[in-house]
Each structure stands twice: as structure tokens, then as C-alpha cells.
């Protein structure tokens, strides 16, 4: 029973972790992309359509990554090249993504999807409990864990990661030193888009293998909250993602439990829990202005126009 719950928690948490990781890299470079929800849903629809057309969920994964990544370029062009307001452009990305995905996916509504199958590691998966939970998962889960490690290494051990953090701290200083601010930020935005796209692919290939309009259901926004919660650190994203995922799964089990016990808790109240939990977590995190100020990349959301 516990193992089964844990497995569902992992499935529910993976998209949050992925999308938040991508946004973390984007925000570390000083760009606030509020379009995670839009990129995620674009990834979901691209992945689903590609998987249906090719019959391969792996083609779906690729399409999800590309879909999210290419879609994020729109945001990059507006905010980095045309220095449009990042908040407004992020909203535009979400609005357009929700509309466009509905249009693309319309022909596929109701079709049974292709579920991404787990990759079972022969020996490791035999370890009691942990084996089943950790080593017989699908590719996207493994990717999410690898990304946490990889991004941690990139940010804090590699010189390119140092440059990225430097840009997020002060883009004018970075420019004066000859670091290419705009190019790095484009790459960071695209990486964020690709991660959100992968998260979307997980939704339409693993979590609920079908296409439903608006199936991201606010997860992109929760991922944004998760980045703040994690104070821009990759490992805390992992922890926070699983916490948020657990709340989401917990409410499902609570519904069943309540039903069995004959207690009437309206399902809507339980469904509202993840959103309410996000608000509560945001309050706790932002309550301490000092730590928020220290952790937030100093140039986050500020426009940059190099003088030439």
C-alpha cells in the first residue's frame, strides 16, 4: 500500500520537479519566465501528438522537449531582443500556449494514448522496496533525477554555470567583462522551455496518457512557486517537488479514505488543497524578507539593453 502510494507520488511530482528545474536555470540567469504553464501544455500536446503519429512514446518525449523549447523562443525574442515586460510576456506565453495546444490537440481528444513503459534495471530493481520505487521507473523519472545532479554540478562547479550566475547577479557587470548576456539568457530560457516541455510530455505520456485540454491544470504555476520555495537551489527543488506532489496525491487518497469511513468531505475541497498548500508554502517562504533578498538573483526580471 505504502509502496503504491509512493509510486503515485513520484509520478505526480516528476513534472513539477522538471518544470521547476528548468525555470530555476532561467531565473538564475536573471530572466523571470511566467509562461511555464504555457510551455508545459505545449510540451504535453506535442508529445501526445508525436507519440500518436509515430507510435513511439520516445518520439513523444523528443517532441515535448522540442515543443517547449521552441515555444520558449517566442518569449526569449520578446523579452531579450525586444526588451518587452517579462511579466506580461510570460502571461502572454501561457495564454497563447493554452489556446494553441487546444487547437493542435483538438483532433486527438478522447484517443487512448501510448503510455511510456518503465525501464527496469535488472539487479537494482530486486532490492526490496527501493528497487521497485527507484529502479523500475520510466525514462523521464531517471532524467529528472539526473537533471538535479547535472544542474547542481553545472551551476556550482562549472565555469559556464559561474557565468550564468554572474549574469543573474549583475548583467551590466557581466557585459562589461565581455560575457555575452543575451546569448546566455537565450540558452537559459530555451533550457527552461525544454524542461517544461519534458514535464508536459510526462503528463500526456505517463501521468494520464491521453490528451485533455488544459491538462496541466496549474502545475506550471505551482512549479514557479516551487522555485521560490527552493530558494533557487536544485536539490531543494527535488525535495519541494515531492512535497507538493505528495499533497496532490494525498488529497486523492484522503477522498477514498473519507468515503470508506463514511465522512462526507466535498471532493472540491480536497481538489483545492494543492492550490491552497501552494499559497501557504509561499507565505512561509517569503515571510522572511532577509533570506528571500539574499537568495533571489539580483537582476531577476530587469530588462537589459547593452549600449554599443
Amino acid at each position: 500500500m505504502f509502496e503504491a502510494i509512493l509510486l503515485t507520488v513520484i509520478t505526480a511530482s516528476t513534472p513539477l520537479v522538471l518544470a521547476a528545474l528548468g525555470e530555476l536555470v532561467t531565473e538564475r540567469s536573471g530572466v523571470l519566465n511566467l509562461g511555464v504553464e504555457g510551455m508545459m501544455i505545449m510540451g504535453a500536446v506535442c508529445a501526445f501528438v508525436a507519440a500518436q503519429l509515430t507510435g513511439s512514446p520516445y518520439a513523444g518525449i523528443l517532441a515535448g522537449i522540442l515543443g517547449g523549447g521552441i515555444f520558449s523562443l517566442l518569449f526569449g525574442f520578446l523579452t531579450l531582443t525586444l526588451v518587452a515586460n517579462q511579466v506580461a510576456t510570460g502571461l502572454a506565453l501561457t495564454i497563447l500556449g493554452l489556446g494553441l495546444s487546444g487547437q493542435i490537440g483538438e483532433a486527438f481528444v478522447g484517443q487512448p494514448g501510448i503510455k511510456l513503459q518503465p525501464i527496469v534495471f535488472p539487479l537494482l530493481s530486486d532490492i526490496p522496496f527501493f528497487g521497485r520505487v527507484l529502479f523500475s521507473q520510466d525514462l523521464i523519472f531517471y532524467l529528472s533525477v539526473a537533471l538535479v545532479i547535472g544542474i547542481h554540478w553545472f551551476l556550482f562547479k562549472s565555469r559556464t554555470g559561474l557565468k550564468l550566475r554572474a549574469i543573474g547577479d549583475s548583467h551590466s557587470s557581466a557585459h562589461a567583462l565581455g560575457i555575452n548576456v543575451i546569448r546566455t539568457r537565450y540558452l537559459a530560457v530555451m533550457f527552461g522551455g525544454a524542461c517544461a516541455g519534458l514535464a508536459g510530455a510526462q503528463l500526456s505520456l505517463v501521468y494520464t496518457p491521453q490528451w485533455v485540454e488544459n491538462m496541466s491544470a496549474g502545475r506550471g504555476w505551482i512549479a514557479l512557486a516551487l522555485v521560490v520555495f527552493a530558494s533557487w537551489r536544485p536539490w531543494r527543488i527535488l525535495a519541494g517537488g515531492y512535497l507538493f506532489g505528495a499533497v496532490g496525491i494525498g488529497q486523492l487518497h484522503a477522498q477514498i479514505l473519507a468515503q470508506n469511513l463514511g465522512i462526507v468531505i466535498p471532493s472540491q475541497f480536497l481538489s483545492a488543497l494543492p492550490y491552497a498548500a501552494t499559497i501557504v508554502v509561499l507565505i512561509i517562504i517569503s515571510h522572511n524578507r532577509r533570506t528571500t533578498l539574499i537568495n533571489t538573483p539580483a537582476s531577476l526580471g530587469k530588462p537589459f539593453v547593452p549600449d554599443r
Binding site: R159, A166, S170, S173, A174, L177, G178, R290
Partner: protein, 524 residues
């Protein structure tokens, strides 16, 4: 190390006809400049003369619109700071190009070959900083360092690349006199090694002291070259400004009147992680007095201004009195209604909103103090645009604000003209108390002398004036009494005539005098 030891026949760097256009405006106009190996060359000029634009082109941050550069005799184009570094050019920026959230070693690593490990960079930085007498802890976070220490990072970062030419942009404007002396020793050491230094400054005394030759820029053009040791500050100033700058006049010994600003036991905790806490501040400012507060940037000047202006009121109402009334908990408009005026340091986004018209920026500071004149319609507070525009016109005429158009955006004015407007906006009310933070920061000489004269005249007419400034020349020009702020502590005030530059320097560097009981301050 041996650098080119040949005769100065082949300059290290030669610049021919270098021009930089921003739109149709020529920030640099056909500049010629030769820098010989092993010389300290001064580049003199007022704010806005084109010095920073020129050195940004030399360091590859900006690309020239026309002209050529020769490095050791052969033509080069410097497309990026990386290329400049590879040639052997190092740069110490005026507004530092440092990253507060990163460590010293990480900051240095960003401009070095990525193959060198952080550990090696730390070691080399440590040994180099020892060799040049610039102590640094590679693991410290920049946010925790003083301005002087930050400049050391920049210098060490430039030296680690073993440059033949080091460019320093206004390096002493943020240093105490003692720190500046230490910097000069480092520069002489560099010169002795055969390296060249391009030293950008508007401080004539130090240019005369350390530079071999000087090139003077005005309005983007080279207007003269000289040996500064054979010039007087006045003759250098004339070359920089193009005409004589009006000298600031002060009558000695104006009689002081009643106490207008009284601060007692004022302690304020730091508001943000990067701010300075104020510790037990006490001061009296009398009618007719200019109290100048000296100090190195980042020692609590901004915080002191914030509490004096009431932008951030304090818990203890009695801690601050304006014209005898306790105002610690009163906001800025309440203090304005008592006759106080305020001029913050930052023009854009604090004293003025850049994207708003001058008339709007007038309303910004005076919507409550001049409520009757500028607003109508009772509770609806309808703005009387005509009254505000005519007041704007009056202020611009009184302060000789040069602008394009009747009521342009604040952001379109030059620093000097905007500052004249911002100061004029307060003077127009004839405030009985005026608190000014860095009145002439980044302002051309003509505007600066006009503003300083206006401050002195205001005091003479019976107002109490507080001038917070990092510019010691300015302080000696305007002050009746001088106090020094260091790490959030304010020294006792001293009559301007009794203080030497050295004494102020020591106070600025944080050598505190024992703080006497607040009552003793009445003695002044």
C-alpha cells in the same frame, strides 16, 4: 618581467581618429592618443567629456564608429573585453564590474581562462595581492566587502592577466586619502615594472602628483596635452572646462541662529542584508550653518538620509527634531510641511522619475507642501497643471536648467541640468531646513559650482543645511562644520577651518573618536 624596453618611438597603444556616435551625438570625436611603455598617462575631462566612452572602446566594451587603434605599432580591432585582455589590456572600472553574490575568487575567475581551477586562482590572487600590498581574502563574498576592498579585487583581477596597459577609471573617487596613497604606491610599482597606466580622473591635484603626461578631453574632443607637473590646478581646470569656472564664495563667520535639526541617540537597524545600521547618531544643525558629512561610500550615508527625510521614519519620535518639533515618526511630507526640503543622491528613480515630465517631477516633491497652489477640487485632488507648469518654468529659469522643449522628460536632461532642477525644486520653496545627499555627484563643473553656491546662499539667508558628500573638495568649499560618517557612526562636528585632509581621512577610515555624551555636542 621584461616588457618592450626600446625607446618610446613605438607607442604601446596608439589611437587615431577614434570616433563613437550614439545616434547623431558624438560622444568621442576623432580622438588621437599615444601611450608610451612605462608611463602613467592621465586622461582628464569633465563628466560627459567622453572619457568613459573612450576607455570602453579601448577595452572592447563599445565598438568605435570610426578610427583605428595600433597596438605596439600594428593595427588591431578590439571586438570584446576578452580580446583586449589577450592583447594585454586590463581595466579597473569606476562603477565596479563585480558580482555581489559571488566570492572574490569567483569574481576573478570570470575574466580568466576557464581551464584554470578556482583553487589555483585563489592561490595566485593571494600571492599577487601580497606582492602589491593589496590584502584580499579569496573566499569572502563581495557583498561583505568595503568599497576599497572591492577596488582591490578589480586591480588584482586586472594584474593576474599580466597586462602591459592598465586602465583605471576614476579610481580614487571612492577611496579615503590614505587608501588613495596606497593605490598610488601600487601604480608606481607597476610603472617601475615597465607597464603603462592610463589614469582617468577629474582630480587635478592627484594627476599632478602621479602622472607623467596628461591628455585633456572636452565635449568628446582632445583639447590639450601637457605635462601636469608644469601646470596649476587652475590651468588644468581651464583646459577641462574651456572657461573659468565661477569660484564658490563664502563669507567667513556668519552668525548661527537657533537649532533647526536636532538628532539624539538615533540608532536604526539595517533594513536589508546589504544596508548599514546607524549607531547612536547625534547632531545639531543651526540656522545659517552648513553641516557637511564626509565619508566613503557605503558607510550609512543613504541610511542617514532616509531617516532624516522621513522616507523611513524611526520608532523613537524624540530622536529627530526639526525646528523643535519631534518628528521621528513623522513621514516625509509631514517634515516638508515644517519647512524642510530634501535632495536624495540618486537622481533617476528616487529624486525624479525619468520617464515623467519635469512638471510631474515638480509635483512629485511638492504635492502636499504646496497643496493649495497645485491641487484643487477638494477631496478629489485634481491637479492644476497650469500652476505646476508655470512653477516649473520659474525653477528652470532660476537655476538655468538647459533642456530641449518646454517640459521634457526628466530622463532626457543631462545629469547636471537635472540636478539643478532637483535642487531648484527645493530652493524654490525657500526651505528653512535642507538635507542634501551627494549634491554634485556626476555633475559637470559649471553646474556643480552653481549648486554649491546655492547651498551656501541658502544657509546665509538663515536656513540650516546638511550636505552629505564623498567629495572632500566640495566639503571644504561649502562647510561651516564637518562631521564624518563611518560604519554607521557619526563623528562629532568640527569647525571646517580646524580640520586637515589627513584628519578627515583617518576618521573616514574608521578611526573613531571616543563618543562623548550627547549633551556635549551642544558646545559647538
Amino acid at each position: 618581467m621584461t616588457l618592450s624596453e626600446g625607446p618610446a618611438a613605438v607607442p604601446l597603444l596608439s589611437v587615431r581618429g577614434l570616433t563613437k556616435l550614439f545616434g547623431s551625438f558624438a560622444a568621442c570625436n576623432a580622438i588621437d592618443l599615444d601611450i608610451a611603455p612605462g608611463e602613467i598617462r592621465a586622461l582628464l575631462g569633465e563628466n560627459g567629456a567622453g572619457k568613459s566612452t573612450l576607455v570602453k572602446m579601448l577595452f572592447g566594451v563599445l565598438q568605435p564608429s570610426a578610427g583605428e587603434m595600433l597596438w605596439e605599432g600594428s593595427p588591431v580591432t578590439i571586438g570584446s573585453p576578452g580580446e583586449a585582455r589577450r592583447l594585454g589590456i586590463g581595466m579597473v572600472f569606476q562603477h565596479f564590474s563585480l558580482f555581489e553574490a559571488l566570492t572574490v575568487a569567483e569574481n576573478i575567475a570570470l575574466s580568466l581562462d576557464p581551464k584554470i581551477s578556482l583553487a589555483r586562482i585563489s592561490d595566485e590572487a593571494a600571492s599577487l595581492s601580497k606582492a602589491y600590498g593589496l590584502p584580499l581574502d579569496p573566499k569572502a563574498h563581495v557583498a561583505d566587502l568595503s568599497v576599497g576592498e572591492r577596488q582591490r579585487i578589480e586591480i588584482v583581477r586586472a594584474l593576474l592577466q599580466n597586462p602591459k596597459l592598465i586602465i583605471l577609471d576614476e579610481p580614487t573617487s571612492v577611496l579615503t586619502p590614505q587608501e588613495a596613497d596606497r593605490l598610488f604606491e601600487t601604480l608606481f610599482k607597476l610603472k617601475a615594472e615597465g607597464r603603462s597606466v592610463l589614469y582617468i580622473s577629474h582630480r587635478l591635484e592627484e594627476v599632478r602628483r602621479i602622472c607623467d603626461r596628461a591628455t585633456v578631453l572636452r565635449h568628446g574632443k582632445v583639447t590639450g596635452a601637457c605635462d601636469p607637473k608644469h601646470e596649476t590646478p587652475a590651468s588644468l581646470a581651464r583646459m577641462m572646462v574651456g572657461s573659468d569656472v565661477a569660484e564658490v564664495h563664502r563669507d567667513a563667520g556668519t552668525a548661527l541662529g537657533d537649532i533647526r535639526i536636532e538628532v539624539r541617540n538615533l540608532s536604526v537597524p539595517a533594513r536589508t542584508p546589504f544596508a548599514v545600521s546607524l549607531k547612536n547618531i547625534a547632531m545639531n544643525v543651526r540656522a545659517g550653518e552648513v553641516l557637511a558629512i564626509a565619508g566613503v561610500a557605503g558607510n550609512g550615508q543613504g541610511e542617514l538620509f532616509d531617516v532624516l527625510s522621513g522616507e523611513y521614519p524611526v520608532a523613537e519620535d524624540e530622536a529627530i527634531r526639526i525646528r523643535g518639533k519631534a518628528v521621528g515618526r513623522t513621514g516625509i511630507n509631514g517634515r516638508r510641511l515644517l519647512g524642510a526640503g530634501f535632495v536624495p543622491e540618486e537622481r533617476h528613480g528616487h529624486a525624479a522619475v525619468s520617464a515623467m515630465a519635469l512638471s510631474d517631477n515638480l509635483l512629485l516633491a511638492r504635492s502636499q507642501s504646496d497643496r493649495k497652489a497645485f491641487l484643487s477640487g477638494g477631496a478629489f485632488s485634481v491637479i492644476r497643471f497650469d500652476a505646476i507648469r508655470s512653477a516649473t518654468r520659474r525653477i528652470c529659469e532660476a537655476m538655468d536648467v538647459r533642456k530641449s522643449g518646454e517640459d521634457p522628460q526628466a530622463g532626457s536632461l543631462s545629469g547636471g541640468n537635472l540636478q539643478k532642477f532637483i535642487v531648484g525644486r527645493e530652493l524654490d520653496r525657500q526651505p528653512s531646513v535642507l538635507v542634501v545627499n551627494q549634491p554634485t555627484w556626476g555633475v559637470d563643473a559649471g553646474a556643480a559650482s552653481r549648486i554649491r553656491q546655492a547651498l551656501i546662499d541658502l544657509a546665509k539667508s538663515g536656513s540650516a543645511v546638511v550636505v552629505i558628500s564623498q567629495d572632500l573638495d566640495e566639503i571644504f568649499e561649502v562647510a561651516t562644520n564637518i562631521a564624518v560618517i563611518s560604519e554607521g557612526r557619526l563623528s562629532e562636528p568640527h569647525p571646517a577651518g580646524t580640520l586637515t585632509l589627513e584628519r578627515i581621512g583617518l576618521l573616514m577610515g574608521g578611526v573613531h573618536e571616543s563618543h562623548s555624551v550627547p549633551e556635549a555636542a551642544h558646545a559647538h
